[in-house]
């Protein structure tokens, strides 16, 4: 918050902020310049009429926004099913090569109902979509930084993408913007000197680090229908721990924990373990933590699936609210043949 900056315009800051909110910073600057040129500090000067015009315009815009608010009553109870899902814009970051990504999660307000919302009118990112790599399977509750959306090269601070979701007939939508307050650093917590776990899906294969889950870099697998897909993850981590008070942990959990889930696909996916524990692995002896975790996945019917894995370090879900440090990846599975398996528990 640039509180002092917003003080810098004598007698014009309400209009300035309103203009920023609705018209982008460029127009806001022009409005500020106009006001500073035309107005004085007291009523009766030439600028008074301009001030009123901007005030009315801002009010009208604010009214329009309020009308379109996604209606929920304050303090509604958490529901098990029958309600909405909203996207959660975690922020954006730039890569060393200058490319940029939006980091996106969601809140499924159905706390006991995983839902499938196919790509289309009810699950779309526009403009450029509707399919921009978002999930179609939504786990209950808050899921942090599940996927990346690449930012188009010509994207400016004034532009936005909008993710619209309609679940149980209830629409929500949120924008993705290059707003400076939403810059994130999900690959390194510079103060705590923490980094996300490093994952490999084959022992000597390339690694994943950070919330990089993206359909473009999905790991391919093929399996015949009715057979189990083995899923093994090798992980290393710096086992760095930091909290508000930095008090030592009473009962330290494993340094890395995994969560497997269905991301996309026509049928149900059953994991032997959705949170497979790590066995000590000697391959990554240089790391403070090195382990190997295995589970299997069963698919209810043939088709193209995507599985999602999140690896949290000691910072926990969403980095404990600090947006670092976890790692995500997507496994793309082609299930061939005809359906023969029985599904016990779909996630």
């Amino acid at each position: 918050v640039k509180a002092l900056d917003r003080y810098a315009a004598p007698d014009a800051d309400f209009v300035l902020v309103a203009a920023e909110s609705h018209s982008g910073p460029g127009r806001a600057k022009r409005a500020k310049k106009t006001l500073l040129n035309e107005s004085s500090a007291l009523p009766g000067y030439r600028g008074q009429s301009a001030w009123l015009v901007y005030l009315c315009a801002a009010g009208a815009l604010a009214g329009g926004l309020l009308v379109s608010a996604q209606q929920r009553l304050p303090s509604e109870p958490a529901r098990q099913f029958g309600t909405s899902i909203t996207g959660a814009f975690e922020g954006w970051f730039a890569n060393p090569d200058g490319s940029r990504f939006f980091l996106v999660g969601y809140l499924n307000r159905n706390f006991a109902q995983a839902m499938d919302v196919p790509i289309g009118a009810n699950n779309r990112i526009e403009p450029g979509g509707p399919d921009m790599g978002q999930p179609t399977h939504f786990l209950p509750g808050r899921q942090w930084g599940m996927f990346l959306v690449p930012v188009p090269k010509d994207f400016t601070a004034k532009d936005k993408l909008t993710w619209t979701l309609v679940a149980n007939g209830q629409p929500t939508s949120i924008p993705f913007r290059l707003h400076p307050d939403y810059v994130v650093s999900p690959f390194r917590n510079v103060a705590a000197k923490n980094t996300p776990p490093v994952l490999r899906f084959e022992q000597r294969a390339s690694s994943f680090q950070g919330p990089t889950a993206n359909v473009a870099n999905a790991i391919p697998r093929t399996i015949a229908s009715g057979t189990l897909l083995p899923l093994t993850v090798w992980a290393t981590d710096d086992a760095t721990y930091s909290s508000g008070s930095n008090a030592p942990m009473r009962n330290p959990p494993p340094a890395v924990t995994l969560v497997w889930s269905k991301y996309r696909g026509p049928g149900q996916v059953t994991f032997d373990k959705t949170n497979p524990p790590f066995d000590k692995d000697t391959a990554g002896e240089d790391a403070a933590f090195s382990g190997k975790a295995t589970t299997t996945a069963r698919f209810s019917e043939p088709g193209e699936y995507m599985l999602h894995v999140t690896a949290n370090d000691y910072s926990g879900n969403g980095g404990g609210g600090e947006v670092c440090c976890w790692t995500t990846a997507i496994v793309k599975v082609s299930v061939t043949g005809t359906a023969t398996s029985t599904v016990r528990d779909a996630r």
Binding site: V1, Y7, P10, L42, L61, H179, D181, V183, E322
Partner: protein
């Protein structure tokens, strides 16, 4: 367009002023000395108010964005000043004056009469008046001064600094957690604490700074007498490993002044573990935090501890759900497991915070509003320190109910993007809600004695008022 033309605002304004003059003259003729019979001027009327309530911050090289020392400095901001003071955004004293506790040790607010004077000055053209009417200038404070010094409480006995972190111009929020030694050789009781950024510019980047006490062997320093849900059993080792807050500071806050006879004990060998939440502001700024400690004199050590407790405003730990373009609400409940006095109130939110109410639900089911801030401002996490006789006291079993409201609309000037859904998190763009309050516990005998003393004082006051 045809038809009768409505009178212009200017015409109405002239009419009102004329009416006011007529009434004023008439009132003067009737001998009413309080009637506004002369123009309000900066020199005679406004400068004394600014000296008393504004200049402590609004002076060159201080944290305020403009100086209000001279007429030339103040005049260009006249309309802003009118708007800020008439809506009670400035001075930053945002507690609702019609609800709950109303007597404070650090009340910096303007009186209704002072606000009326400022409004009339601006509406009257903001004249300077006769420079001979100006009061003698007050000495300037140094930049980044302790609030306690500004309030006349003297300098701290000991200052402990953290190392500094260089916050880049553009970066996600950072939580900087260095450790500092406490250079004392014998136990000391603290009667007041204040944290400030080590540099003036740090007031732009440091959202909050918490000084946790790294205990050596003092389990009694840990608060165990409030509960907001299932509490894990604790043993001595666990308590010693916990780190109680010596103080929480957030942007705009001043000091924690503990109730007489209460304080915080610091032992030799203990350390401070800092938690500094830093936000980028478009300019590279290095800063850390420092804590000032005011000690009780030796031989005057207090008998009771004061515990800083963050009373939650959330039902579910770590969860808020604020839809875009909406006003949202959460609430939290915390039980007092012992009789307690609450000595201050400081609401804590992030950018979408709008209002917070703290009420007590007593064991008999009745309830009592303690405090309400209806126009919370993210840039001013003011600490409202209750007057000793006004600090509310409650029996064990009382529930402290914190209600929190959020404004995720364009009407919130601090809102970076009202179209975003907002969830829980530590960043300023995410939300949280809790009430920082210092608590002193009383045994049953002490509680009964204090309640009795309060009743007797109230009865005496009533008698005096009736005579």
């Amino acid at each position: 367009m045809t038809g009768r033309r409505l009178p212009s605002w200017r015409g109405i304004h002239i009419g009102i002023v004329t009416l006011g003059l007529v009434v004023g003259v008439a009132a003067d003729a009737l001998g009413d000395n309080n009637a506004p019979t002369r123009a309000v001027t900066f020199s005679k009327d406004i400068a004394p108010i600014f000296q008393a309530k504004c200049q402590v911050c609004h002076q060159p090289n201080s944290m305020a964005p403009m100086s209000l020392i001279t007429y030339q400095e103040a005049r260009p901001w006249a309309r802003s000043i009118r708007e800020r003071v008439s809506t009670r955004q400035m001075p930053p004293w945002h507690i609702d004056r019609s609800v709950g506790v109303q007597k404070f040790k650090n009340d910096m607010s303007l009186t209704d009469e002072q606000i009326d004077t400022i409004v009339r000055w601006v509406d009257g053209g903001a004249p300077m008046g006769d420079p001979k009417d100006l009061p003698p200038p007050k000495p300037l404070v140094t930049d980044n001064e302790w609030q306690a010094v500004k309030d006349g409480l003297g300098p701290p006995d000991l200052v402990i600094k953290s190392s500094e972190f260089i916050m880049p111009a553009e970066h996600q929020d950072v939580w900087y957690r260095p450790m500092s030694d406490i250079p004392i050789t014998e136990p000391r009781w603290v009667k007041m604490v204040e944290i400030r950024p080590t540099r003036l510019k740090g007031r732009r980047t440091i959202h909050h700074s918490i000084a946790y006490l790294v205990l050596k062997d003092d389990p009694d320093a840990v608060n165990t007498l409030t509960s907001s849900g299932r509490s894990d059993p604790v043993d001595r080792d666990d308590l010693v490993n916990r780190r109680p807050q010596l103080m929480e500071w957030a942007i705009g806050k001043g000091y924690d002044l503990f109730r007489p006879g209460t304080g915080k004990l610091i032992l030799p060998g203990e350390k401070i573990s800092w938690d500094q939440h830093i936000h980028a502001v478009g300019e590279e700024i290095p800063s850390g935090s420092e804590i000032g400690l005011w000690f009780y004199p030796k031989g005057e050590e207090p008998k009771k501890r004061s515990y800083l407790v963050g009373f939650t405003g959330l039902r579910r730990r770590g969860f808020v759900d604020i839809p875009p373009n909406s006003i949202a609400h959460t609430e939290g409940f915390t039980a007092l497991k012992e009789n307690a006095i609450i000595t201050n109130f400081q609401p804590h939110f992030h950018l979408r915070g709008k209002a917070m109410q703290v009420e007590a639900i007593l064991p008999d089911g009745s309830h009592q509003i303690i405090s309400y801030v209806g126009n919370f401002n993210f840039n001013w996490m003011t600490n409202y320190v209750y007057d000793d006789d006004a600090a509310p006291v409650f029996p064990k079993g009382t529930i402290i109910h914190v209600s929190a409201w959020y404004d995720n609309t364009a009407a919130n000037k601090n809102n970076p993007d009202p179209e975003q859904w907002v969830g829980y998190g530590d960043r300023t763009v995410d939300e949280m809600a809790h009430a920082w309050m210092n608590v002193v516990y009383l045994n049953d005998e002490e509680y009964k004695a204090l309640v009795e003393e309060r009743k007797n004082k109230a009865a005496k006051l009533t008698n005096e008022q009736q005579q």
